[in-house]
Amino acid sequence: MGYSSVRGGLEAIGHAEQLIAGAVTDTDHEVGVEQVPGHLELLLDQVMGEGGLYDPQLGALAVKQAEGDPLEAGFLLRAYRTTLPRLGYSVPSSGRDTRVLRRISSAFRDIPGGQLLGKTRDYTQRLIDFGLGQKRAPSEGSNGTGEVNGAHATQPAEPLAPLPDEDEFPLVIDVLRAEGYMAPEPSEPVEDEPFDVTREPLRFPTRRSARLQVLARGETGAMLSLAYAGMRGYGGAHGYIGELRQGDLPVVISHPVTGKHARIGRVPVTESYQVVGGQATKADERPDYTMGYGIVTGRNERKAISMSIIDGSLKKEHKTGASIEDEEYVLHHIDAVEAMGFVEHLKLPHYVDFQASLQRTNSVRKLVQAARSNG
């Protein structure tokens, strides 16, 4: 290869692209994009959440194109999303408006509306089902409830109950507010229009909407680790799950001409309301619990809970100095696209930099040797 043959670099990239393309398309059993939402739903949810774009079709394409690498797939979505114009903002929605599919509270046994276990693996045995590898007759694939993965789940004895009404599930957090344990919800929205982290760089201290956006787009694993460290003593962040709810949140916009509110669809979300604090003091009998809030699109309880723990820690009045309480630390380091990009850029050549570093090392060595021989 010639010393500066551009073809070399271009050819190498070409070959790499061929190898990738092969993995994605040239196999006997190519994964259909349409299979992703049904069969790899949690992966798809994570990708769309971290990609900051709720679009199952595009998400499925990204998952396929990325060979199932969730960070790479989220990155593909982000790099597409960023080119879309922002047409406007929806009207703020409340978790109260969610059409609930699952909701639990670990703070109270009996909650208004009751606990609804819903679709969860929490109480299943984590045993590999060797039968999943065998081909089944097509009819076995459905359990009659429309659940694609129902074949290997325990069949409910009765058909599933119809979806409950929205107002059957008051927020548990409202109970705590009503009892005076927690500050009441602000009557007016705190911010007229949200800070848009995709259009403006963060300024510290951040506005609440900015903080929540960064957290909501954060990488699941990174946030899990931070939240875990916070609970293990690096931040004293052990709170209670006031409520964890999953369901479909309506998206409402204000009509540009009439100003009337119109529901344009629903987005599945997971919300976590973490109850943090407690221990009233003699000096201070104010409502002394605060709420750590977590929300992610799709089903991702791990991230929603982690987010609420982190949010609660960032809100703490009396900080312990732990990383999880440091806004700059948390918000700068949980973004998958930024973190993976910078860590992996170490693969780029650094010949010039390393040469500069070697020069310094040798220069200091010479100084030391000269000093030795002189004295």
Binding site: I13, T83, L84, T198, R199, P201, R203, D353, Q359
Partner: protein, 305 residues
Amino acid sequence: MASATTDRPSSSVRGLIAERGGDFSGYSFAFLDDMAKREIRRATLKAVAIPGHQVPFGSREMPIARGWGTGGLQLTLSLVGSEDRVKVIDQGDDASVNAVNLRRLVAQMTGAEETLDTAEATLIQTRHRIPEEVMRDDQILIFQVPIPEPLRFIERSVAVARGMHAEQDYSRMWLALYEDIVRRGEISAGAGYPVMVNSRFIMAPSPIPRWDIPKLNQADTLFLFGAGREKRIYAVPPHTDVRPLEFEDYAFKTEEFDGLACEVSGATDVYLVESPGENGTSRWTASDTNYADKVAAGIEVNKQW
């Protein structure tokens, strides 16, 4: 620098895309939407107006990874028109895989011509080098910047560091240099030596070697710096004072190559990189490959920056 006016890639670009074997018709000219381009240009103008000051901007996700030149790429894509000639170097090398990939992306998305020739290019995007060949006032050099904050390693908080710049509170930076001298006998910064711009702001020149630092001072060329992940743009306009931080009795020194010559071109007095060869020998070649090629071809090149 004709600004982008078309929304869709030109037909020649479509051809290139077809050659690559994918369908990317859903993207705008130069990838970024017009709002993004406008915003980046505004930030760039502000950066030019306040030399060395880091201007925050709404950095977009790019189709290449963060830390791989997304800041430089956004600057390039916000400035490039279809008549531009674009050169991209990585560590001085046009053939470096990442440089090839970036150049290809710019060309695919805009139809701009690719070039390797420093003198021919209208826009040069670079990672960690300034070309040996002197650049003119009708050219722009765009640096990819990993860490735009020169104070990062003495103050990790962005908010505090911003305040320090605002107040020109740089004594801790000087202290770090003093301590360096006490511990090592000299200032140890190799690539990315901190500089003072226009007697006002301390600036990270991106990790260029010391060799390139003097070229920043009073140049004819506009230097733009883009940090995508960190969301900052800054600039050194033409004919601006740029001085390395130094003590009167511990003067700034560039790298020395003790009479070594480039094995490709025979050129001396250029920045060399070492490739370890067999049986403990090494091969020294100029890191600026276009410069080496030109000299090897007998072309006269001005490198008196």
